[in-house]
Assembly symmetry: C2
Homo-oligomer: 206 residues x 2
Amino acid sequence: MNKTTIASTSIRGPADHEIRNQIVAAANQHFSQYGYSKTTVSDLAKAIGFSKAYIYKFFDSKQAIGEAICANCLAQMIAAVEQEINVGGLTPTERLRRLLKTLVATGVNLFFSERKLYDIAAFAASENWPCAQQYDALIRDFVVQIVREGRELGEFERKTPLDETVDAIHLALRPFVNPLLLQYNLDVVEVAPVLTSNLILRSLMP
Amino acid sequence: MNKTTIASTSIRGPADHEIRNQIVAAANQHFSQYGYSKTTVSDLAKAIGFSKAYIYKFFDSKQAIGEAICANCLAQMIAAVEQEINVGGLTPTERLRRLLKTLVATGVNLFFSERKLYDIAAFAASENWPCAQQYDALIRDFVVQIVREGRELGEFERKTPLDETVDAIHLALRPFVNPLLLQYNLDVVEVAPVLTSNLILRSLMP
């Protein structure tokens, strides 16, 4: 399977330049420790040992570095979801359950084990950064695939227009997909995946 | 119909004391202008023209005043919901649609027209104040009533245990009921009530 990539915008020079990766890795570490909002490009330059001007050769702003980090992080979450749901022999019902379960688990894990990265993802969601939009679009694509397959196999109802079904499910997943919302849903993450999957699956019954 | 009340805790002296109401009204105005977190009991005393000690005769903390205000505000929202859904001749399906629509409308209205009050409600939700818990429990009660009636009339399915159905719907309403979540859902409030009502109603089909 190809590795899912979520592109970051506003980057300069060749995309796979070694220095760019070094800057992103170092910034990732720096942001993880001090947080995105409290770090300036000058702080970053000092910590990495590059000049500010040199960093600006590769990224046109702090946000561009933040987007690259956020894109990596979201791509990892998408990869985790793909690994769980694209297993041969799973029914659409099982894939939907796994989608929700993995989304919640990876989001909660990020919150508790990489809090500063989580905060960048939440900031990306609040500012509607391209990487956050792409992440959301990829989640919707998973829903489309699962619903379409379930309809083809006769496992899900077909009366409701596909777009409406998908939009409604996508909306029901939002409290667990969007990091701005998930942080206020931590008290229900134990029960939410099963309750919400069951509700969605009842709504899909033929 | 009796007026719904949401009790605030930590109040002192007779509950319907005129002075208490004066303090709450004045604090409401003061918080609405300056915000809850930035106001101290001293500020409040000065603004109202009472001594701090006198205010402490009626409320044991700033939070107790905040809770009284929040309880009034949430009780008004509950009253608005009751007025919309407890109309004779409505089917359970229609009542569920109205529940969601009114919850979103009153929440959004509070956000845009009484932002500082909304912030108190969000703070109450984050701190799990008793008034926020009661509000949430009253919303759940509405769901119980509607689902139970729909089952009795044969309009909704009866295979799923009542508690599971109610918990799942209550959870699906959470992004629009909880002010901490609603503030990040403002971009979907136009489409959310219909999409979510339809999803829930499909899940309830016999």
